[in-house]
């Protein structure tokens, strides 16, 4: 470990890089050795870390407030006004042809957003979106009638997603919670999954609690695969809670009866990922 001087720390902005976990292991160790004996750097670290946490807190508060405001606003609307609002939105979709060319760009952007948000979408919805996207590309040469039809189809797809999101925003009682047991590599071969998830046909969301054996990584990636190996959901940048667990809520309609494998990988700050745990489970339906 090379000794580090204060000028080097300032020049290379190590305080911020350290807080963002952007230093290599050797740089990090050297910087830790430095700030353990440098009151100025330690003070800067404390302030920057505190400010960073404050920024994240403010963003979280604002997001919660905006969500509450939107729901309250919708709740205040009478049924008639809600229908009128939907009617108005439909009129917007059917706006004159002259605007369609300009809207085409907007449509592509919407598709991009939909793709970005698809982590929570079931596989068949993703496929539909991918198909729509491919067809939209061929639309460049096609007439505006087909374009309008596709727009309507896309609007329906988005409406279905909004409905699913609204469902999640409604308080729910007795949400099934499953503590999944991890298996070590080699233990899965040829054996039925140790975790059995009995779901009724009418079940809403399902909560999975995954206790991590190690929390050595700054973030984690979760990947859910069906029996045939097809990935049906994944999320990056996950951080364990104060009990070193990842708590994941999935809509039960994503889970048809069958075997699944939920794999967790730890992501190092340099982007490399390492398998941490696997949670195979079997979904069975009961009436």
């Amino acid at each position: 470990m090379n000794p580090m001087d204060h000028a080097y720390v300032e020049e290379h902005g190590l305080v911020e890089s350290y807080l963002k976990d952007r230093l290599s292991e050797s740089e990090r160790d050297a910087f830790e050795a430095h700030y353990f004996d440098c009151a100025t750097c330690l003070e800067q670290l404390e302030t920057a870390s505190d400010f960073r946490e404050g920024m994240i807190q403010v963003a979280a508060e604002d997001a919660a407030r905006a969500r509450a405001g939107l729901l309250a606003g919708l709740a205040l609307l009478s049924r008639g006004r809600r229908i009128a609002l939907v009617g108005f939105l439909l009129l917007l979709v059917a706006f004159p042809l002259g605007l369609l060319m300009a809207r085409n760009r907007g449509l592509e952007r919407q598709l991009a957003e939909t793709r970005a948000a698809r982590v929570a979408a079931p596989a068949d919805s993703e496929q539909r979106i991918a198909t729509l996207e491919a067809r939209l590309r061929s639309l460049e040469q096609a007439g505006t009638v087909e374009r309008r039809r596709l727009e309507e189809e896309l609007a329906k797809e988005r409406q279905a997603r909004t409905a699913a999101a609204s469902e999640a925003a409604v308080p729910q009682v007795n949400v099934p919670i499953f503590m999944l047991a991890a298996v070590r590599s080699g233990e899965e071969d040829g054996r039925a999954p140790v975790n059995r998830i009995p779901l009724s046909a009418a079940a809403g969301p399902v909560v999975f609690n995954l206790e991590l054996a190690t929390i050595d990584y700054p973030s984690y990636r979760a990947s859910l695969r069906a029996e045939d190996g097809q990935e049906i959901w994944q999320a990056r940048g996950l951080r364990p809670d104060s009990r070193d667990a990842l708590v994941i809520l999935l809509p039960s309609r994503m889970l048809h009866p069958g075997s699944y494998r939920l794999a967790i990988a730890g992501a190092r700050s340099d982007g490399k990922e390492f398998a941490v745990a696997a949670y195979p489970f079997q979904v069975v339906r009961h009436p």
Partner: protein, 184 residues
Amino acid sequence: MADLVRRIVSGDPAAEAELVERFSRAVSFLLRRLARDEAVVEDLYQETFRLVIEKVRDGELREAERLPGFVSSLARNLFLGSARTGGRRKRWQADPEAAETAPDPAPGQLARLLARERSAMVRRVLAELKNDRDREILSRYYIADEDKEVICRDLELSDLHFNRVLFRARQRYRELFERWQETG
């Protein structure tokens, strides 16, 4: 540093207290970054100093000027060991009687008060910024976790300008924090 190490080796209790005072803040800061549970931090803090003193006395620190790095790496290794074995939580699970004395992991009243104050101070810093672009810089850097290079390229900013925005925001936050500490 050499004198401090020499006195610890010779068993001077005042030197041990001086060691704790000298590295207390840094050890706390590092452990809080690594472990989110305050009870774990508390355990590891005690254990770090106990081990440092023991190892220094046993002559395991060969170069006295390496003491800061010795303390920091010991604290980090203790945390990693604790995380691997599950630390306190696993012990409580194994021993239901010990679990009765386990502290509530939910943030305490003081932590909630600090969080509220911190949020209010950050809001004030943001409100005092002269333009929206500076607010955008802070949001993208701290909340969206974007890289400095990306933000600078998008907003056509120099390194210097970027650093200045961050520096001023943190400086102002520090002033507000110190004032709050004095009045609180």
